[in-house]
């Protein structure tokens, strides 16, 4: 029985067997054919020899193809991938890149805020201190307010004597026909002599 006498189905299974692709019942079936069918056995041997030849040829050609298939682009890509993987691993350890201009602007903003805060604090301090010191600047209130037309410097100062009693008072008044202030020590003797 020649190979041509074999059915295509049996040839495919034999080819699969030769390639080691069969298992179980199909493998047993094919092995039964090899034991009983000379054509099948011969076909299998042919396939095996072809397989060896192909295998040898494949092995011989694989080394050459390995050299020939060395591609610079692949190597570069592989190197890039490897570098990327290293970078990915090292990224957490590297400080983030920040723009120097942005950092300067940020520093300026922070400095401006600090300066504004200091200025505000200084103004509050000054205003508070002025309010506290304001009463000290008040002039003593005279016994009688001078007339608006009167001079601020009458040229006369009066200190009442304590023994004079409550009936004696001092008035700073404007004269009727003089722009200056007149000082009057007035003794209230209403009802007296």
């Amino acid at each position: 029985m020649s190979a041509s006498s074999l059915s295509s189905e049996r040839m495919l299974k034999l080819m699969a067997y030769a390639d080691g692709e069969l298992e179980g019942a199909e493998q047993s079936e094919v092995e039964g054919w090899l034991a009983t069918d000379a054509d099948a056995a011969r076909f299998a041997n042919d396939l095996a020899g072809l397989g060896d030849l192909v295998k040898l040829g494949h092995e011989a050609s694989s080394a050459a193809s390995a050299v020939a298939s060395f591609d610079v682009a692949d190597a570069v890509m592989a190197a890039v991938k490897e570098e990327e993987s290293k970078t990915a691993k090292e990224t957490p350890k590297v400080a983030p890149v920040v723009s120097l201009a942005e950092r300067r602007q940020k520093n300026l903003k922070v400095g401006g805020m600090v300066a504004a805060a200091l200025a505000l604090a200084a103004s509050v301090f000054v205003m508070t201190r002025q309010k506290e010191e304001a009463p000290m600047a008040r002039a003593p209130v005279p016994a009688v307010q001078p007339s608006p037309n009167a001079s601020a410097e009458p040229g006369v100062d009066v200190d009442l004597v304590e023994t004079a009693g409550d009936s004696v008072r001092v008035f700073y008044l404007s004269s009727e026909n003089s722009p200056t202030t007149s000082v009057v020590v007035w003794v209230d003797e209403s009802g007296g002599k």
């Binding site: 006369v156 200190d159 004079a164 007149s182």
Partner: protein
């Protein structure tokens, strides 16, 4: 050359003017005061102030003292009291009382005096009213002493 001459000429005139001013100031500053050694005195105008319907001020009074509710002012007397340091100077008033000034000090051309009045009941002694420090020729008034339905107002001016 002309510019330099004008500049020096202007400086010369200016210097002469400044020199004259300085000399004048020196002469004035070192001129002895006419009344430096004479004791000061107090010119006292005794004014009778009354309440009236029609305002009237004696023209002899000059600068009208504050009315304090008394519209009619009449000059009753005009006296001069010598102000010897630490010596009381007195003058009798129309209401029978006595007004006293005591010159206690002179500080930087200002005169410090103590004004006192005798008691209204005629008893001896004086009641101190006030310590007054006055510039020369600056008048001050002491008043309120009852007299004939009104009051007496004393206008005092210390004259060096």
């Amino acid at each position: 050359m002309r510019h330099a001459f004008l500049s020096s000429h202007a400086v010369g005139r200016r210097g002469a003017l400044l020199g004259a001013l300085a000399l004048g100031a020196a002469v004035i500053g070192h001129a002895p005061e006419a009344s430096a050694d004479a004791p000061p005195k107090a010119e006292v105008m005794v004014i009778h102030a009354t309440k009236c319907d029609k305002k009237s001020v004696d023209p002899q009074i000059g600068d009208t003292p504050p009315a304090l509710g008394y519209d009619c002012l009449k000059l009753v007397d005009k006296k001069t009291l010598p102000l010897t340091l630490n010596q009381a100077s007195t003058t009798a008033l129309p209401n029978g009382r006595t007004f006293q000034l005591l010159h206690t000090a002179k500080v930087a051309s200002r005169f410090k005096v103590t004004a006192s009045i005798s008691p209204a009941d005629g008893s001896a002694g004086f009641t101190k009213l006030a310590d007054i420090t006055a510039d020369p020729n600056k008048p001050f008034n002491v008043g309120g002493f009852s007299y004939q339905g009104g009051v007496l107002v004393l206008t005092v001016r210390i004259v060096p």
